[in-house]
Subunit: 242 residues, 2 copies
């Protein structure tokens, strides 16, 4: 069951062609007519509001989503009802790739704030990818990146290493999108961060406090200031693959 009917802002063509995320998103490396053809199958969807679900476990898979604005979290719920956060998704990143294989969604995705997505109907996308070799390449690249990234968190690292890596990673992703790498707002709660990093919320709270005491960061609720990025990096050097 797709969660709820949502406005589809089609109207203006050139969703991709004028999008500021071109460099991060699928169209990278596509030009002219190829880009127009991709543009023709993309639909903007939203806005979703905080807590709205983009899709849920079991929903039939028919589209991949690219975050256009705002941010999302994806998560599963295990047999005992416990939630497991799989990732946070910023503009330009794809959602729903893990649903291709089984043909239905295997995780939930919800908006962490007011957010929109670009909908890429999979059937049309794959037929287009057969015609445009650059598109095939780009899809493969993004999926490959996804595989490499999910492997990063799978270490047995300390709470400090995990949180430092998380903050450094976020910083890099914000910078790529043209935002300040040293100052940004966390869209997600402590509980979500803790769950994502496989820690207790209390531990996250304590490590934040420790980092602040050491002058690494300044944090006020969701507002974050990375004061000493170099030293923060040394705190998570072992997770080098980022």
């Amino acid at each position: 069951m797709q969660t709820r009917p949502v406005e589809v802002t089609r109207g203006l063509r050139e969703a991709c062609m004028s999008c500021s995320l071109q460099e991060l998103c699928l169209p990278r490396g596509l030009y002219g007519q190829d880009l127009e053809r991709l543009d023709a199958l993309v639909e903007r969807q939203g806005p979703y509001h905080e807590g709205d679900h983009l899709f849920r476990i079991g929903d039939p898979f028919d589209s991949i989503y690219a975050v256009h604005a705002g941010s999302y979290k994806s998560y599963t719920v295990d047999s005992e009802g416990r939630e497991h956060v799989l990732g946070f998704h910023l503009p330009g990143e794809l959602l729903g790739l893990d649903a291709i294989y089984p043909g239905h969604h295997v995780c939930n995705a919800l908006a962490l704030d007011t957010a929109t997505v670009c909908v890429l109907p999979y059937a049309r996308l794959s037929s287009l990818a057969s015609q445009i070799s650059g598109l095939f390449t780009q899809i493969m690249r993004l999926m490959s990146k996804d595989i490499a990234d999910t492997a990063t968190l799978a270490g047995d690292f300390t709470a400090e290493e995990r949180l430092a890596a998380f903050l450094v990673g976020l910083s890099q992703r914000f910078q790529l999108r043209g935002y300040s790498p040293k100052e940004f707002n966390l869209a997600m709660s402590r509980r979500d961060i803790a769950n994502y990093l496989r820690l207790a919320t209390e531990t996250v709270s304590r490590v934040f406090a420790r980092f602040e005491k050491e002058g690494l960061i300044a944090v006020d609720r969701r507002a974050l200031h990375l004061l000493d990025l170099p030293r923060l990096r040394t705190r998570c050097e072992s997770l080098g693959s980022r």
Copy 2:
């Protein structure tokens, strides 16, 4: 630097067409002429022997590998020299998908026993994928599965849950390949298992002993006997996504 020159068993065509792994590997869903065209670009490589590297971090990426026989492990080495096992790969599974994005390998892969692979040159594969829509679909499916699988281990589970899930997962994979799901040999050492599950080798040893005492398994060195698969499953229910 590709590790070492290895014999390439081309010779007989029909590597894919007669392969017993067809149902697991890429050709699934391809027939007749399409299969022949895929077959034409695949080269069998090996045999590699225990400890031989298939590729190493930094090696230029130009091919995806499909395990044909034997088993491999993939792993990284962090800045402090510690090894991190990313996965074990059985016949029919793909290796090197995470190298597409960066264009070079981001992990090492080595043979755990005498093993062979099928080499899929990426450039030729992607051009073929634009001609055969079923091939594109299949590649996407396999990458999607990879993404979903790597997410599975990322929970904060107990040592028992992790090991139970590992054994159950292995069992399923062996069964899919036509082997007994209850009796098989572990190709990997305790140290590798422990590293993969983010545990100490001693912990793995102890949990094996505990499982044996409970009558869940019988284990002698690498020889494993799953005596009570149902009860083993209940031990890792929370990792339900498998």
